[in-house]
Symmetry: C2
Subunit: 340 residues, 2 copies
């Protein structure tokens, strides 16, 4: 009493297996009569095509493997949404996997995808050594999201973190802030680009004398600690640009703890536009990355290769532009207003 096969359907419909196969893939070259006979037989039997067998026979699987570096992070969920939407419109299916931030487990997940013979791989924020990524790219097309590596045929899509940092700084400057400090993200992903972007923007605004970077680590505690140090210094800033929303929340904590108010005394800008920043309770001005678009683009890139619209060792690189989301943690600096 195992699952019915094409054979069973063919017998019941009184046709050959091959014809059933054509019907299942709805080929146009089947007479309406046999088509409906086959469909009826399949329905009566509760027939479900065996994807395993199909894949073995056809060499293509129309499945893409998507590795999400961290399934706890909503950032990757949105990349998935974009990837899925794009895949569906092209008739592909996504297989999801994660290594839970562990490179070894990520490697396993990629290996599993490869053993399942996915047609291509999309790796979102992988912790994987680049040699592993390059090796995978020798077997199937690979696109990388939110990570850059130098390897043949590995397409990448990233958001322009330097530009995003520039948006934050220019927003604060346009409100009248001059002493704008940056709580950085240490060695975290994107942290150095955001730090550089901050420095460049400050310089191009003629504010290089006010550049002040304090060490953070993308955590709430780290952000709070950094801002505490900042406030104890002789000459505290009027605005803080945090490397991500979580450390921005820490900044908020520290400012309040010091008896100051946001945005009246100090403005704060985060980065990533997470749900946290959108909370009414927090309502933080932040920088938004076009996450869905990043997912879409990654899928489009690998499918271009799978379907032969692109090929060769040249890696394509897409750099998307972030945008500013103004909420309630930024305002005109008080001291400036009073002196006006």
């Amino acid at each position: 009493m195992s699952a019915p096969t094409m054979e069973d359907v063919a017998a019941r419909a009184g046709v050959s297996r091959a014809l059933v196969s054509l019907v299942m893939r709805n080929s146009p070259k089947v007479s309406p009569a046999s088509r409906s006979a086959v469909l009826a037989a399949a329905a009566e039997l509760g027939y479900r095509p065996n994807a395993i067998a199909r894949h073995l026979a056809s060499s293509r699987t129309t499945m893409l493997g998507v590795l999400l570096s961290d399934i706890h992070n909503p950032f990757f969920a949105e990349i998935y949404d974009g990837a899925d939407a794009e895949a569906v419109t092209h008739g592909y299916r996504l297989l999801l996997g994660t290594g839970s931030l562990n490179p070894v487990r990520e490697r396993d997940a990629v290996e599993a995808f490869l053993e399942l013979r996915v047609d291509a791989l999309v790796l979102a924020g992988p912790r994987l050594p680049s040699t592993v990524i390059a090796a995978a790219a020798r077997e199937v097309p690979v696109a990388l999201v939110s990570r850059l590596i130098r390897a043949d045929a590995v397409d990448t899509v990233v958001a322009d973190d330097r530009a995003g940092a520039g948006l934050a700084v220019r927003h604060l400057a346009s409100l009248g802030h001059r002493r704008i400090a940056h709580v950085d993200g240490g060695a975290g992903a994107g942290a150095s680009a955001r730090r550089t972007g901050y420095q460049k923007a400050m310089t191009s605004l003629g504010l290089q004398a006010h550049i002040q970077v304090v060490a953070g680590d993308f955590t709430e505690v780290g952000g709070a600690g950094a801002v505490r140090r900042l406030l104890q210094s002789g000459d505290p800033p009027t605005a803080i640009f945090a490397a991500n929303d979580l450390s921005g929340a820490g900044a908020l904590d520290a400012v309040e703890e010091a008896g100051l108010r946001v945005p009246d005394d100090i403005s704060v800008v985060g980065y990533d536009n997470t749900a946290l920043a959108a909370l009414h309770h927090v309502s933080m001005t932040t920088i938004n990355q076009p996450r869905e678009e990043m997912g879409r683009l990654a899928v489009r890139m690998v499918l271009d290769r799978v379907e032969g619209r692109a090929s060769g060792p040249t890696a394509r690189r897409a750099v998307l532009t972030p945008d500013l989301v103004v909420r309630r943690t930024t305002a005109v600096p008080r001291r400036q207003v009073e002196s006006a």
Copy 2:
């Protein structure tokens, strides 16, 4: 120049295909000599077993399909963590999928799993009609997390929401609160059990005269609106038990907006112990569900069936007990203290 097969490895190692197969599955009945010869040949060729072919030949796939109702919700990420840990220890691999809260897409995802012939299915918080779930359960073992249905052979694991609500109420009562209101979750998942649990606990504490349920909807805005109404009533509560953390955050907003302080004037308890509640900035007392354990248990249940330790139409049902996480939004009621 397609991928090397077992045939190639066998030729190179000077043995038969079957022997290679045995080595790949590291069977004990292979001489060390041939084993290392095969391994060497495989390495030189860059051989990778074809899981598709393996599955077709062996009927078992050692893959479990896991459907996460909402990949944006960290709740499900933790269920996944538990499921994954359990699966790995049993030598199974998880395939992840989601329908993004859309029943039709969920159906597709389940269908895809079934076509890939996964050995079993774990459905976490599915929106699927129960008929679809029951149908799937006729093909492979199915376990349901955070949802109950009456169907043969569908095992379920849920957290005891009534008990959780009881914990919240008893915590507040033990601090001295008597007027404890509940912001409910409308028709959301678990909302009615939490409401019932609240009412039962209030009654059993002799506080039935103070039962007060205001309508919420599991959102921040809904929670804030409910609390605003509560505060405008003639006789506001000294404590609020919200049906989830998000509406608890809304409650916090509304309390502050009214010029009152948490927990000095009003205590607030949330539900779910999300990252939001853990934020230092929020630090909300809440009820925690043993999510990882729920995932583990679901996998254990289906594997019991897959491996023959359980069988038949009797559905097993696991009810796990939540626990209380005390943070900084609950305290002894001020008025009570002053009158003491």
